[in-house]
Amino acid sequence: MSEFNITKDEIEVNEVVKTVVHPNAGAINTFIGTVRELTNKKRTLYLEYDAYIPMAEKKLKQIGEEITSKWKEARVSIVHRIGRLDISDIAVVIAVSTPHRADSYEASRYAIERIKEIVPIWKKEHWEDGEAWIGDQLETTQYPSGKPGKEHLND
């Protein structure tokens, strides 16, 4: 059964995959977002994620519904972790099963793009020389360069 969760615990990829296994699925595409150390040559020490949990889970579920309305036979689960995450820790796991492979890739890609648009989760980067909420236009922290640079783009 599909799940759409925000969790403070480590995410087990296998457990998420299992929820979308189905006799009529021939393909399961999984997207795993991990904490990257270097972004534009700037070294991340660790991340912190905050979320508006009930709304975030509702929006993850909405993305699942958008997918099953576009790809009728798809099954989707999405789990996003919050709290402190170290380099290479898993922040998000998306699993989509479909009968045929092309749809599994497309629906999985759709899910991650939508997460970055509508799910109220926020990432704070901690670098050696500062910290900032990404997507934050408020400049509540000092940016080394004086203002947000390219590292604040979501990708």
Partner: protein, 78 residues
Amino acid sequence: MISIMLFAGLQEKAGTEELKIDKDEMTVNELVESIRESDVNLDLTNVMVAVNEEFVSNPDQVIKSGDTVALLPPVSGG
């Protein structure tokens, strides 16, 4: 009384998880103006308002005491 949840950078800047406005009813636009004029000094550029866990795009939408209200900075999950 209308309570407004804060997250991420807004929460840090305001130093609190929740703002309270002593009204029973106001529009989204009035809410935003009320926060702008208050002494919490939050920059609300690009901040979205969520009412009862849905983004609100209509500034005239009415918020009532008891509604769940949140200010959402641009998201950066994934």
